[in-house]
């Protein structure tokens, strides 16, 4: 299949007004796009007159696959959606499922989920900031950021056995409980490693003349546009929309913890970078409060509710545990959620990550729609790009933090 032209409007190259315009294909395999997305740019010299995105180069049928897998199995798939902060997707998915089934998870589970979601937010923002600076020519910040991400990976690996896609949450609880040495690891990370890396990146970029020149006033998104174009998360907050689901609809343990919502008025690439840097600090604040206050008790909801997978000792040593294990793994048994539909959202690092689940009473969802923040933010991209020069393109792309797997699903 040849690469088809994807211009929706008619470029009439013969007409005298447009004969100087030329078209540049950008992607789908290009270093500055990080992953797979394609842009067709109409250029006047170096100025972008029109940018037409062409996406779908990583469309893998996540939502169709969700209709085939049950509420626990699908967590492995949502992991691979925003793959630089997989835990946040898991937390969001099971947040929606638990709302559907009306499960109140245990306090210990809430705190652990909060900690891992915030750790994932730190690692997501680190990669975003590092890659943005890499695109603008600063490779050192990228190396510092990645070094710190390895520490977060170590924490996830100790907790779940997988460093990249932990698949750690389950309906009504977690895969396993965490150990004390894990808590010590998180504490060391928050107290020692993270502040150092954060200060390093700040020192490298915050007053860097090249970085400032290339991000200040570039890709400005006004507050009205941000709301009108459905932006959420750091992108909207950098434009002055003080909207954070952690405050607005407190879920997990966020209601008990103290933190601020970081906002800026400028709405340019620099504002988005600064909001992300400051949000990391707030995340560290949340973790340092939560990690000292993890309640004791079980991580799974009561076994009598027949919702969570019993642990191995219960499965092998008691008849109730064995029966429940069977009930949850036989394809015609599993959960019996109400026949209804609902939307539930959490604040992922990129913005509002919501799931619209339609249940027909079976053990697997009838339809599970994702509200992907990257998809919504990339729709804003042509608007941000118009009138800028082509050299600003990596700056804007890096500041929006587009993840192709979440974009295309």
């Amino acid at each position: 299949m040849p690469l088809a032209p994807a211009l929706p409007f008619a470029v009439d190259e013969e007409s005298p007004e447009q004969e100087f315009l030329y078209t540049l294909n950008f992607g789908p395999q290009h270093p500055a796009t990080h992953t797979t997305l394609r842009l067709i740019l109409t250029l006047d010299g170096e100025t972008i007159v029109k940018a037409v995105p062409d996406i779908g180069y990583l469309h893998s049928g996540f939502e169709k696959l969700g209709e085939d897998l049950d509420y626990n199995q699908y967590v492995t798939i949502v992991d691979r959606m925003n793959y630089i902060s997989p835990i946040c997707n898991e937390v969001a998915w099971h947040h929606a499922v638990e709302k559907l089934m009306d499960i109140e998870i245990t306090p210990r589970c809430k705190y652990i989920r909060t900690i891992i979601a915030e750790l994932a937010r730190i690692s997501d923002h680190l990669l975003c900031v590092g890659a943005a600076s890499l695109d603008l020519g600063g490779i050192t910040a990228f190396m510092y950021a990645f070094n710190m991400r390895e520490k977060v990976y170590d924490i996830f690996e100790t907790m779940s056995g997988q460093r990249f896609h932990p698949s750690y949450t389950r309906v009504g609880g977690l895969m396993v409980d965490v150990k004390d040495d894990w808590v010590a690891m998180v504490r060391t990370f928050i107290k020692v490693d993270f502040p150092k890396a954060h200060a390093d990146v700040c020192r490298l970029l915050n007053r860097n003349k090249i970085f400032l020149d290339r991000t200040k006033g570039i890709g400005v998104l006004s507050k009205e546009e941000a709301i009108n174009r459905s932006a959420a998360g750091p992108v909207a907050r950098a434009s002055g929309v003080a909207r954070d689901l952690r405050k607005d609809e407190p879920y997990l343990a966020y209601g008990d913890l103290e933190f601020d919502v970081v906002c800026s008025r400028n709405g340019d690439c620099l504002a988005r970078y600064l909001v992300r840097m400051e949000e990391m600090r707030e995340s560290a604040r949340i973790i340092s409060q939560a990690v000292e206050n993890i309640p004791a008790g079980p991580v799974n909801v009561n076994i009598e509710d027949k919702l969570t997978i019993p642990d191995k000792s219960a499965t092998y040593r008691s008849i109730e545990g064995l029966i429940q294990h069977f009930e949850l793994f036989m394809w015609n048994r599993r959960w019996k959620p109400p026949v209804n539909e609902l939307y539930a959202a959490t604040e992922a690092p990129n913005g509002e990550l919501g799931f619209y689940i339609v249940s027909d009473g079976e053990g697997r969802p009838y339809r599970c729609r994702t509200r992907p923040p990257s998809f919504i933010h990339f729709a804003i991209f042509p608007h941000l790009m118009e009138g800028h020069s082509i050299g600003d393109l990596p700056a804007v792309l890096g500041s929006l933090n587009i993840i192709a797997a979440e974009l295309d699903r």
Binding site: P2, P28, T35, S60, G61, K64, L65, L127, F164, A405
Partner: protein, 193 residues
């Protein structure tokens, strides 16, 4: 003390292989999660530069190793094939991760079930995603393969003129089953009249 001669007698193939194996320039075709692990392999903790493969070049004309990291969707296959054809010989291909090697968990309408159906692959790396150590092991394996089989004028590729992948799943449909899909019009992709 023995006097070392100031010359060396060896096979030209061996020297060429030594040079090629230890300076593989990867073309990172990073589409999904494995791409981030590829970045982790290239960054400070794992440091693929120890094996001479740190010179990631995003332009296919300058590369000799294609690293397909991540699932390849139907829309992406023509791009992948075009980039493969643009790379100069001799060239090798590492299929990184379960998705690139077999489709992995994504057995859906849009994901091809292994890039070896469309490209000749030299080394497969299992894992979802593979750890950086596994990718480094794959690079070492490829170096051994090049050292063992390579020739200076790439003769080893000239015999390999047939399709080497798994059984091709291209099928011709009945006329009433046909539909408009991208690809070759002689196969299942015939346009409905």
């Amino acid at each position: 003390m023995a006097v070392m001669p100031d010359f060396l007698i060896t096979k030209l193939d061996w020297v060429a292989n030594l040079a090629r194996a230890n300076s593989l320039w990867p073309m990172p075709f990073a589409t999904a999660c494995c791409g981030i692990e590829l970045m982790a392999t290239a960054s400070s903790r794992y440091d693929i530069a120890r094996f001479g493969s740190e010179a990631m070049r995003f332009s296919p004309r300058q590369c000799d190793l294609m690293l397909v990291a991540g699932r390849v969707a139907m829309k992406m296959v023509p791009v992948l094939q075009r980039i493969w054809l643009q790379m100069p010989e001799p060239k090798w291909c590492i299929s990184m991760g379960a998705c690139a090697s077999s489709g992995g968990v994504f057995d859906t309408y849009a994901v091809v079930q292994g890039i070896d159906r469309f490209l000749p692959v030299d080394v497969y790396v299992p894992g979802c995603p593979p750890r950086p150590e596994q990718l480094i092991r794959a690079v070492i394996d490829l170096q051994e393969k090049i050292q063992a089989t390579g020739t200076v004028n790439a003769r080893e590729f000239t015999d390999r003129t047939t399709y080497e992948g798994p059984t091709s799943m291209i099928k011709t449909l009945e006329l009433d089953q046909t539909m408009v899909v991208p690809g070759d019009f002689n196969t299942a992709t015939r346009q409905r009249d």
